[in-house]
């Protein structure tokens, strides 16, 4: 994953919120006109170089709590992507109306309304998923990466870019969530994609893979400490690749 992503574009930066982990040049906007030149940096930022979890360290609360299986991770990831796209789009639309001094309260109102609306939709049409994700859907509101994107990106960029940034940031978050979920599920239970039928329907039972047959289970990986250790491992891996590239 790292190789393909890091070779796609030359370093560029479109974000205000510089973090220590990001090694990109300051304030060099991509040349206007080229669609690719404008959108690839957004994708690269969201997925890798400014990843919500691995670099910005945002949204860790839901990440640690829901990453105990791939399906849970995927469910929360998809819900977060939906919230990020919708909140980024609405904030981009109103970016010229809202004055700086009321930015934050307005963004909070918008994000909270969008999350509540999405929760109701999941409750209505994906009932079983709702039963699994339960409390974590309303808690998407507390995912700092959403308000961070609203403030740092959506409030300064056009609708299309804001939506794309929401998608990419959400995908980056989901990617880490799913990888962590897979790690914990394999180590903890010896399976992958268990309960796939709850998300994809009864016909999808075959998706569940028993990675290690007759596995006794390793409880620590499923419990919260496993989440912290898994995340630490992923962070170390990401830093290793980043440092190696720099050297």
């Amino acid at each position: 994953m790292s190789e393909t992503l890091s070779e796609t574009t030359a370093p560029s930066d479109i974000n205000e919120d510089k973090k220590p982990g990001s090694s990109l040049a300051e304030g060099s906007f991509p040349a206007k006109g080229s669609f690719l030149a404008e959108y690839t940096p957004i994708a690269k930022d969201g997925l890798w170089s400014n990843n919500a979890v691995l670099v910005q360290m945002l949204g860790l609360c839901p990440l640690l709590a829901v990453s105990n299986s791939v399906i849970n991770a995927l469910g929360l990831g998809l819900a977060t992507i939906a919230v990020l796209i919708l909140s980024n789009m609405s904030i981009s639309l109103i970016r010229n109306i809202v004055r700086p001094e009321i930015h934050l309260p307005v963004f909070v109102i918008i994000i909270a309304s969008v999350v509540t609306a999405i929760e109701l939709v999941i409750h209505a049409w994906f009932h079983e998923l709702y039963l699994i994700l339960g409390i974590f859907i309303p808690l998407i509101v507390t995912n700092c990466s959403i308000i961070a994107r609203a403030e740092a990106f959506a409030s300064k960029n056009t609708l299309g870019k804001a939506a794309f940034d929401g998608l990419m940031m959400g995908l980056g978050f989901t990617l880490v969530l799913v990888v962590l979920g897979a790690m914990r599920e394999v180590i903890g239970l010896g399976t992958l994609l268990s309960n796939a039928h709850i998300m994809f329907g009864e016909g999808m039972q075959w998706l569940t893979i028993e990675v290690i047959p007759d596995y006794k289970g390793f409880l620590l990986a499923i419990l919260p400490p496993g989440a912290f250790m898994g995340l630490a491992f992923l962070l170390a891996l990401k830093n290793y690749f980043s440092l190696k590239k720099k050297a």
Partner: protein, 229 residues
């Protein structure tokens, strides 16, 4: 914002009013979004809840064994410590034509390892358990959560049991001298479930004469009996 002090003051007020109006406007907009989504999804949510309950019930009561509208044939019974609830409980009645088949009701075990274990039980009219399922629990993953049918078939060991089969003193986990398995590393969870299921049977046998009544006759007879008439 530049100019004289007087202009600053009025423009400050002006700015405050605009900001307040904008904030109120977005508050209204957000509320409108939530209200309209709520209205749009209300019926679907209700239908999903019902479908989910019916699915849970049909897992422990074969759909072909009854032919009434299970969710409509319900009876609200007063709180009872045997059920574990301190609020009235809904009992669902299954009928085949005019013959009673089974009742289903929720029970709760408060003595799990980590909080309440909510269960749903169906008991045939003969007093035999048709099935038990865990609806929600917070037991330790990998240990106590084997009470969940998705993790372990253990919960099926109640099928066909009744209050006298096995005998009362055998209605325990094996570690306590009973017939039900416990799990390696987890005794408290299955013990709590076994006790709750036994209490549910106890409740059925104490109340079976009115569990198949309609609400009106139930209220009359039950309360008459409670008054000792």
């Amino acid at each position: 914002m530049s100019g004289t002090k007087a202009i600053d003051k009025s423009s400050l007020l002006h700015n405050m009013i605009i900001s307040a109006a904008l904030l109120a406007g977005f508050g209204g907009l957000g509320t409108a979004l939530v209200v309209s989504t709520f209205e749009l999804t209300k019926e679907q949510i209700e239908a999903s809840e019902k479908a989910n309950l019916l699915k849970n019930l049909n897992n422990i009561l074969p759909a072909e064994s009854y032919n009434n509208d299970l969710l409509a044939s319900r009876l609200t019974v007063p709180a009872d410590s045997l059920l574990g609830y301190d609020k009235p409980v809904t009992v669902y009645q299954a009928w085949k034509d005019k013959t009673p088949v089974a009742v289903a009701y929720p029970i709760v075990a408060h003595d799990g390892y980590n909080g309440d274990i909510n269960l749903l039980i169906t008991i045939n009219v003969s007093g035999q358990i048709s099935g038990v399922r865990v609806i929600s629990h917070k037991e330790t993953p990998g240990l106590g959560d084997k009470i969940d049918i998705n993790k372990n078939p253990w919960i099926l060991s109640f099928n066909g049991k009744s209050i006298n089969n096995p005998k009362q003193k055998l209605w325990r986990v094996k570690k306590d001298g009973g017939v039900f398995d416990q799990f390696t590393g987890a005794t408290i969870t299955p013990r709590a479930v076994v006790k709750a299921v036994y209490r549910a049977l106890d409740y059925y046998n104490a109340n079976k004469q009115w569990l198949f009544l309609d609400q009106k006759s139930f209220d009359q007879k039950y309360h008459a009996a409670m008054r000792g008439e």
